[in-house]
Symmetry: C2
Subunit: 178 residues, 2 copies
């Protein structure tokens, strides 16, 4: 079900072709929230169009078809976003899974991984912050979506960075005690 709404939301932000949407899933939204490949996107767009939640608004070269949400699609999206989200849905995140399983490693190995994680997080923070400054400098044409995503990413990586530091201390403390 989530893919439907991801597509509706992306189209609500900006009308796009299936190809465009595939690219957009490789950016912020794909890194932190949800991703999909083109082989999943094209059939889903067809279904959404059949349900009249999206429609083709222009056709271009190479069979390119740009979709936009219909008013019905906007309503469906709004209902979903404002509706009850009791369970938060299932989560799949291989990166975080690795972090959670670290305690299965010997201390020295765990420290190596934790240092790597910290480095990676620091690097990502730097990338996102410089991107944000570029965007701000390039004028006010900052659309909400990418901006929200970048901020979310920066804060998430900061949390990861801090966690890795804390975890590393815990492991060191455990090593000393033994």
């Amino acid at each position: 079900m989530s893919l439907r709404f991801a597509l509706l939301g992306l189209l609500a932000e900006e009308p796009s072709s299936g190809y465009d949407l595939t690219r957009r899933f490789e950016e912020g939204i794909g890194t932190f929230a949800w991703s999909a490949g083109h082989s999943q996107i094209y059939p889903e767009l067809a279904k959404l169009a059949a349900a009249q939640l999206v429609e083709v608004v222009s056709e271009g070269a190479r069979g390119r078809r740009v979709y936009d949400v219909t008013p019905a699609g906007r309503d469906a999206l709004r209902d979903w976003l404002l509706g009850p989200h009791t369970d938060g849905g299932t989560v799949r995140n291989e990166f975080v899974l690795r972090l959670f399983l670290l305690s299965a490693l010997e201390d020295a190995d765990a420290q190596v991984v934790l240092r790597g994680v910290q480095e990676f997080a620091a690097q990502q923070i730097a990338v996102l912050e410089s991107a944000q400054q570029e965007m701000a400098a390039a004028g006010l044409a900052r659309s909400a979506g990418p901006n929200l995503a970048a901020k979310f990413g920066a804060l998430s990586y900061q949390a990861t960075h801090e966690w890795a530091g804390w975890a590393s201390e815990q492991v060191a403390w455990r090593t000393e005690r033994s």
Copy 2:
């Protein structure tokens, strides 16, 4: 592939039955990293046993079978954790997806959701912190796994809380300008 390693990791921390593992996926690891239902776990345990990465270490009432990782399983897990993790894998997180699509809502609606998110995050932080204090008070028997998870959760929710506040300001600013 990830499920295999999730199971190996959980068993490395503590030998468990399929039923136990199902419950454990409903806690920290399921909320932040990876989850699975029993109908996926039992067949996967059978496959892991066939590959000699896990083994049955005891049988109890009601056909209960407790599994533990074998040395080969431990090696496989270690290789995976220390191996190259170039792409971080795909991410699926419905909660975060909702956040990313918020910009499709009208400002007033978005503010309602953002306030809800902030409240939820604050509440989760409180729950996790009190749980951690309880654990600390209950003595030193704090195993690494749940502890790491709780800390990760607390930091993640803090990031979410901060993000929601920031996003709310952004939306308010956009509202005024229009």
